[in-house]
Amino acid sequence: MRKITYREAVREALREEMIRDARVFLLGEDIAEFGGSYKVTEGLLAEFGPERVRNTPISEAAIVGAALGAALMGMRPVAEIMYIDFIGIAMDQIVNQVAKVKYMFGGKARVPLVLRTQGGGGRSSGAQHAQSLEAWFVHVPGLKVVMPSTPYDAKGLLKSAIRDDNPVMFIEHKLLYATQGEVPDADYTVPLGVADVKRDGRDITVVATSRVVHLAMAAADRLATQGIEVEVVDPRTLVPLDEEAILASVKKTNRLVIAQEATPRCSVASEIAAIVTERAFDDLDAPIARVTALPTPVPFAPALEQHVLPDEEKLIAAVHAALQ
């Protein structure tokens, strides 16, 4: 099968959905001639023109609000927020408007809106360009939240998100854009709400999200040489969350480590730990462990950033501790 990058996979999904459905259009900062800060939308202006690939002012609230207004009128906008860190400006629109209009209106609205953004550290981007803020959106009823880790998932999930009649937060990771993976030529989608077991194992489950899936896979390779078989489960979508897949894995391995790049308090890892504790406590042979960023802003200095973010070593240590 051909291999393409995560960036190309996202772009292909956008392009194919724009061809498939004239109601799909893009809006965001610097997405047109410039092709986006991470070049995801490069070439789309030339193909689809300025009405469907719309540069916006630096106005995150207006980007999201305008996407909502267009969605309510039957369009299927895909808005880009350049960095998830900039999303604070748009939080009212996302939390009070986008997430709630359907409910507040007694069910009569449909909001087919995708909000693409990217987060994550590892490039010395500093505290305002490197956060992992997915938990903010997971917390709000009415939103779906997607965090793809591979090119295959990114393409298939984005196509599903664009075809979904609900608002979807689609959170990419800046360090994944250049990674490669197998993606078929044929049209396919990956359904929202279905986890993927990225690696089978019998000894311990590692549930990991976004870039941390790759850290978990690398850690699993190393642990395998020590005779420890790690099962890596990637939820892929955080809302809806495939609880059954996580529980099935825990019932098999009886041990659970949850790994994410976000800080720990009230995070997705905390939520998954709570679910497993409520629903599968008797299947656990060891306390659930969380591997997360330290509870600090993301520092600039590489030496500090590496210390704060999760890595393979921390994951391996957590697995060993859970197997004690």
Partner: protein, 310 residues
């Protein structure tokens, strides 16, 4: 137009009575005094045109075509209300009527109207979007972001500022420096005009030009309607801590409904008897609406879990 103004006035007054009698839960923000703006604007709109409204939105949605019985049922938190009891006074919406929602967040509807207008333009339709908001909203980021985007994209959107001189309790003298809110339109190169918001003819004339521009594809514009809120910010606020009796009295003398009636009679467009007959019909419609609401079922508790996702 007279009937619509009477419907708004009587709906607000009846809702206030019912609220004080403890029949309605939640908040209620009365638009009494501001009826001429809602009616003067919406008289230009077709069912296909859309509006975004505010926390003080009863007048806008009535003027845009909402039924009083389903509105009252929503205020009564009943299953038959516009939002099945999930929205309440501040969130009445009906997409079929082009009402993209009243809104509990000041300024929140402005960017939504811009996006709706963009959708209309992308599809080549001659429909327009109107965003209602108050003077308080013109200090929010959403206002400035929304107006700038509308101007940059030349979308068919009309921004209608109902300047009632107070952002909740804070006087405009305190919350902004500009003498007229319309000054702010200049920053976005939008045509801006002031209307007398107590005179429905003035609103109708000024907004008519703005809506015609939008419909003809000549872009967005801004209207400042100078109006006044006769009651407090919400029922429960007498509105006296920050406004003098004299000030309120001066504005009450220019009651938009009284002015409208006087003009209709003076110019021979309608007789007092005809207007009273309309008042009687509206009163009957309203009582029917209250009866409908009272007799409607409460939402079943388990429906709280519905309508979150499609």
């Amino acid at each position: 137009m007279y009937r619509q103004m009477a419907r708004i006035r009587m709906f607000e007054e009846r809702a206030a009575e019912l609220y004080r009698a403890g029949e309605l839960p939640g908040f209620l923000h009365s638009s009494v005094g501001q009826e001429a703006v809602a009616v003067g604007v919406c008289a230009h709109l077709t069912p296909g045109d859309v509006i975004t409204s505010t926390h003080r939105g009863h007048g806008h949605v009535i003027a845009k075509g909402a039924r009083l019985d389903r509105m009252m049922a929503e205020l009564y938190a009943r299953e038959t209300g516009y939002c099945r009891g999930k929205g309440g006074s501040m969130h009445i919406a009906d997409l079929d009527l082009g009402i993209l929602g009243a809104n509990g967040i000041v300024g929140g509807g402005i960017p939504i109207a811009v996006g709706a207008a963009l959708a209309l333009r992308l599809r080549g339709e001659r429909r327009v979007a109107v965003s209602f908001f108050g003077d308080g909203a013109t200090n929010t980021g959403a206002f400035h972001e929304g107006l700038n985007l509308a101007a940059a994209w030349e979308v068919p959107c009309v921004f209608v500022c109902e300047n009632n001189e107070y952002a909740e309790s804070t006087s405009r003298r305190v919350h902004q420096r500009v003498k007229d809110v319309v000054t702010r339109a200049v920053a976005y190169d939008l045509p801006g005009t002031i209307a007398d918001g107590m005179d429905v003819f003035s609103v109708y004339a000024v907004v008519g030009e703005a809506i015609a521009r939008a419909r003809q594809g000549r872009g967005p514009s801004f209207v400042e309607a100078k109006t006044y809120r006769f009651s407090g910010h919400h029922l429960g606020d007498p509105g006296t801590a920050y406004r003098s009796k004299e000030e309120v009295e001066v504005h009450r003398r220019r009651d938009p409904i009284k002015l409208f009636r006087e003009k209709l009679v003076r110019e021979g467009l309608a007789s007092s008897a005809e207007l009273e007959a309309i008042d009687g019909e509206v009163a009957a419609e309203l009582e029917q609406a209250v009866r409908f609401a009272r007799e409607s079922p409460l939402p079943k508790p388990e429906t709280a879990l519905e309508d979150i996702y499609s």
